[in-house]
Symmetry: C2
Subunit: 219 residues, 2 copies
DNA sequence: CCAAAAGTGTTAGGAGTACACCCATGG
DNA sequence: CCATGGGTGTACTCCTAACACTTTTGG
């Protein structure tokens, strides 16, 4: 029985949630798009295999990566019995545009709102990842993983709106963030738009105190 | 590469959360206890393999069963490379005492508070299952899966207390349950204790309305 | 001076928590 | 009649949601 890892890689671009897909150059499903993935090596752990694939496809390391779910229906791969352990990864907006896949010349970021037909059972995997991402937004800091180290409050709100797919109230959003005390304002401003916006940093150490107490991001 | 399923099977007995373990009769880890499990057959899905093992070990079918996480560190099984897809299952109190494992004469329910040393990485798997169970208690109906179709409010509260490992306030517990409107009182009373207690039924249809709205079991 | 995004507080309603006593039954 | 678990309500606090105008900049 063969074991693969497949990785749903998300990023935010232009205030939109996007996912990395590669066009298949060979059968089966030639010409269709698929989630990046590959076989687990004989002496390699599952997480390690996922990190290796992620690095190969995007060039990035040290990003958020988490196991999602395993899919192993007989017949999910016409070539034979393949069990895949699916992962999902988050790449911050400032590192995502560099799509320089080694073997994946045809890699492209797709808005999750307008996906092409996907190979294998990858649509199911992607839906599973989206659901997980939405849920984790509420009780973890995944939202910050999609932004550069410094960001404006409006950018953060856009991340939440893009993933949850609904508008949020600006004042309530900011007040709740303030109560959590996990952001540190910097002296820097983002110019270039209209009125300049203050940049903030996420302070991981402050979040540590909260997570045991069930304090969340209730947006 | 070989693929197995391992199943953490929980039940409630005497107001305590228990898990089914089998004593290994052969090396490796001979004489130690392990979570029930076995190989995935060539033409068998992962869920199907888990259901088959569950049936073999406990004789029960049609119980709550959910995939948990996959474990595949090289070296987790000294016999070779084995990736395991872990599941967790919940058996209601009225069906659990029947431990009649086919090949598992040495199967036994263990209180999760006093576990023996476990074979392989099964301790890690069990901890993972416990954490998942505690979390799902808050936003799903897994609590009801551990009880017979009809139960008293005190029995339900004991399930929550056993899993969360803390005392809950009786009046608050009942008021919140009342607000959810997912229980239907029956005409039946449980006698045999002191004052008879009313039996309730969980109405799954009423829960359906709630789960999209993020209404939970906030105990 | 106009368009566009940044920034800022109050109020009213609902949910959560803490807390103590009477009731029905079996022995 | 007594021991045991079943059953019930209130007051206070805190969180949530709804809601509109002023400020700062670039063009």
């Amino acid at each position: 029985m063969q074991v693969t890892v497949d990785i749903v890689i998300f990023t935010i671009q232009a205030g939109e949630l996007k996912v990395l897909l590669v066009e298949r150059g060979i059968p089966p499903f030639q010409g269709q798009f698929a989630i990046p993935g590959g076989f687990v090596l004989e002496d390699e752990g599952l997480d390690a295999a996922a990190r290796r694939e992620l690095k190969d496809e995007t060039g990035v390391a040290d990003v958020f990566l988490e196991q999602l779910y395993s899919f192993g229906d007989p017949g999910r791969d016409p070539r034979g019995r393949v069990v895949t352990v699916a992962y999902f990864a988050l790449i911050s907006a400032d590192r995502s545009p560099l799509v320089a896949g080694s073997d994946a010349a045809a890699a492209r970021w797709w808005p999750v709102r307008e996906l092409p037909e996907l190979a294998f059972d990858h649509r199911k995997i992607l839906d599973c990842a989206l659901e997980r991402l939405r849920n984790k937004l509420e009780y973890t800091t995944v939202g910050f993983q999609l932004l550069p180290a410094r960001f404006t409050l409006s950018e953060l709100q856009q991340v939440y709106e893009a993933i949850l797919n609904k508008k949020l109230d600006k004042r309530n959003f900011r007040r709740k963030l303030g109560l959590l005390k996990v952001l540190r304002p910097t002296r820097e401003l983002r110019r270039g738009g209209r009125r300049p916006a203050r940049l903030y940093e996420f302070v991981a150490a402050r979040f540590e105190r909260l997570k045991d107490k069930g304090i969340l991001f209730p947006f």
